[in-house]
């Protein structure tokens, strides 16, 4: 199987993730979609690593995973705090950052 197909799969995953971020209101789902996009990016990195036959992409993927893990911690903490203060996990309710 051609490794290019993984790139196509990654594109599909990224699109799904982006659509989820734009469409869904639930902060948890939005968060999950962001993870999906990150993993789609990881998949591309690994796929290109395979196509080009060097390890740069795979190393990069590990870095992304580490950063993603850290981001999950911060992001979930924010969502929990948000829920506690306003009893809702909808991102549209948290629309105070405007004039």
């Amino acid at each position: 199987m051609s490794p290019v197909n993984y790139v196509y799969l990654a594109a599909v995953l990224f699109t799904i993730g982006a659509a989820g971020v734009l469409i869904r209101r639930n902060a948890i789902v939005v968060f999950m979609c962001i993870e999906l996009m990150l993993n789609a990016a990881n998949l591309t990195l690994v796929a290109f690593s395979r196509i080009h036959g060097n390890l740069d992409g795979q190393i990069m993927a590990f870095f992304v995973m580490v950063v993603a893990a850290a981001e999950v911690v911060v992001g979930l903490a924010i969502i929990v705090m948000m829920y506690r203060s306003r009893h809702s996990a909808s991102v549209d309710d948290a629309s105070l950052m405007k004039l």
């Binding site: 982006a18 971020v21 734009l22 469409i23 209101r25 549209d92 948290a94 629309s95 105070l96 405007k98």
Partner: protein, 629 residues
């Protein structure tokens, strides 16, 4: 001796300071302080005059350096006085006539609540006028020049509760401002040309400067003289200036301040001698004004305005004489002094008449007053004979000399000027006879009016100054003429050349007397033989124009005021619409744009995400596109 010069200015300046700052405590006695200090200045002047007479002719000029006003490198403005024969003449005229008018004012202003303020202003005027004639440089002269302008403004508008007086004061001030600008420019030009504005270096080196520069300076000086001396085209303020109290008209607007222009031209003689074109303009201005003022004087029914027209005309004679160069300077000053006597006397007489007639100024409501005011009649009559040039009186000698000098100008110009001065003499005789007949002769037209006045002679304090001035009007001319004493007195300052007239002196005198008789006869036919109507008849076109000062205000209005108004309106419109429009438009455009842009910040995370994705997509697209190219 030199140290006394400062006192001449110092006395009245002290008087002005004390009277104007002294407050109500001085209301009862302040006027006597004004008289005293004015008199002290006169006595100082006489002492200096006596000292001057004791010296040989070429050592008479005194000089006093008080302090350096602005010491900056080559720009040295000094407060220094120069008392030479020309300045001395003016000092005696100003302080002498000034003191007499101060005394007269004590009686004239007796019932005025502002009498202390009036005397304060009069003293201020004396100080400024003396500064003007004593200054040894043009900058200090300018200080005095502005000072007399200020005093004139304050005194014309002395009764400022009358709107007409307030407006007249403002008009005089504004018109004078045009002339003052000319003087300022002349001083600038002098400084760039000669590197100095002190009389001695400027006038001694005048011949080196080149005719173009001298003409420019001369014309600017003439503009200044026109403003101050009410010469065409800046003559319009003098008639309205008669709104001031009559002693003011006598002192400032007849005897002294209005002659400052003649002083300026005579003092700057060296400049004009080197600029024949400027001299021609001076002569033309003088000739035009002398006819202009005389014609206006013929039509006015207001006694003070008739005299104001006459003042304008007589100063026209002086300016004309001053424009003739060294053949005329001395005669200009001689006529100035004799005019100072008889015109001040005439104005004081007019004031005395008004005093007895409930402040009525319309001559058509006078008539037959000689029985009621004998002293006023006689003094006014002597002033009248002097101004029309009755042989033997002072006006005859001084005016005759000017007419002779005008003929001596030579060529066609000489004939034209001679003719103009002769015609002027005839008109002078006409309008003065008219004033005389309408006021003191004929029917008593004031009888049977509402508020019928009770004509009475003025108190002694007013009549004595009039008598003294009448003596001056009678004898000054003969005294000056005897042995050419006045000309020799002034010669070291103004130079003198004998003009060579194409007509003999006797013929000129004869022609002057004929002109005089024609004028008097004409006036008698119209106003003496027939009764004067107490309501002014419609009159000819010229009469009606002359009643409106030959349309001077209409012309100023049409040529200056209206276009100025349109220009202002245009500028205001352009400022509102174009300048403000551009500024406000830019601001509004940015405001609107910002308002629209602000809507992007709606607080929804997802819309921010959209813009992020959009931006990323654009970046990727751009990168790919660049790759492809």
């Amino acid at each position: 001796m030199e140290s006394l010069i400062g006192l001449l200015v110092g006395f009245p300046l002290l008087g002005a300071a004390v009277l104007l700052c002294g407050g109500r405590k001085l209301d009862r006695s302040g006027h006597w302080l004004g008289v005293l200090l004015s008199g002290a200045s006169f006595v100082t002047g006489v002492v200096l005059f006596a000292g001057m007479l004791g010296k040989p002719t070429d050592q008479r000029a005194l000089h006093q350096h008080l302090f350096t006003w602005v010491p900056v490198e080559s720009f040295q403005a000094n407060v220094a006085f120069q008392l030479d024969q020309l300045a001395m003449t003016f000092v005696l005229l100003i302080t002498g006539v000034g003191t007499l008018i101060h005394i007269y004012s004590v009686g004239y202003m007796e019932h005025d609540v502002g009498r202390r303020r009036f005397f304060g202003y009069l003293n201020l005027f004396l100080a400024a006028m003396l500064l003007l004639v004593l200054a040894d440089n043009y900058l200090l002269l300018y200080v005095g020049w502005e000072g007399v302008g200020l005093a004139s403004y304050l005194l014309i508008g002395f009764w400022q509760f009358k709107p007409s007086a307030a407006v007249a004061a403002k008009k005089a001030f504004l018109v004078n401002r045009v002339g003052d600008a000319g003087l300022a420019i002349a001083i600038f030009l002098m400084f760039t040309t000669f590197g100095s504005f002190t009389f001695a270096p400027v006038l001694d080196n005048a011949t080196d400067a080149g005719e173009g520069k001298l003409t420019a300076i001369g014309l600017m000086l003439l503009l200044a003289a026109c403003g101050k001396s009410a010469q065409v085209p800046l003559q319009s303020w003098l008639g309205d200036a008669m709104e001031g109290p009559t002693p003011v008209s006598a002192l400032i607007h007849a005897a002294t301040m209005v002659t400052a222009g003649v002083y300026l031209i005579t003092r700057s003689g060296a400049i004009f001698n080197g600029a024949p074109d400027a001299q021609t303009v001076v002569v033309v201005v003088g000739a035009v004004t002398l006819l202009y003022g005389a014609i206006v004087g013929c039509a006015k029914d207001d006694i003070k305005k008739a005299l104001a027209g006459s003042t304008m005309s007589q100063i026209g004679y002086m300016v004309l004489a001053a424009g003739l160069g060294p053949i005329g300077y001395a005669f200009a000053i001689m006529h100035l002094v004799t005019h100072g006597f008889f015109k001040a006397g005439l104005f004081l007489g007019a004031g005395s008449v008004m005093h007895g007639m409930n402040d009525e100024v319309d001559m058509r409501r006078y008539g037959g007053l000689r029985k009621y005011m004998p002293v006023t009649f006689v003094t006014f009559g002597l002033g009248y004979l002097a101004i029309i040039g009755f042989p033997g009186l002072s006006g005859f000698f001084s005016k005759d000399q000017i007419i002779e000098a005008a003929f001596a100008k030579g060529g066609t110009q000489g004939w034209i000027l001679g003719a103009v001065t002769l015609v002027g003499a005839a008109i002078t005789a006409y309008y003065m006879t008219r004033v005389m007949l309408m006021t003191f002769f004929g029917e008593e037209r004031w009888k049977g009016q509402e508020n019928e006045p009770h004509p009475h002679e003025s108190p002694k304090i007013m009549t004595v100054p009039m008598i003294v001035l009448a003596f001056g009007s009678v004898f000054a001319g003969g005294l000056f003429k005897a042995g050419e004493s006045f000309v020799h007195w002034l010669e070291p300052v103004t130079q003198f050349e004998h003009g060579h007239s194409p007509v003999s002196a006797a013929a000129v005198t004869g022609a002057t007397v004929v002109a005089l008789l024609l004028g008097v006869g004409g006036a008698w036919l119209q106003y003496g033989r027939r009764p004067v109507p107490s309501v002014a008849p419609r009159g000819s076109l010229l009469t009606r124009a002359a009643r409106r000062d030959l349309l001077q205000d209409d012309i100023n209005h049409a040529v200056l005021v209206k276009p100025g108004e349109y220009l202002t309106r245009g500028l205001v419109y352009a400022d509102n619409k174009v300048v403000d429009g551009a500024v406000n438009g830019t601001a509004a455009a940015f405001g609107g744009l910002s308002g629209r842009t602000r809507r992007v910040q709606n607080g929804f995370v997802r819309s921010y995400a959209v813009s992020m994705f959009g931006g990323a997509a654009v970046l990727v697209a751009a990168t790919l596109l660049m790759r492809a190219v």
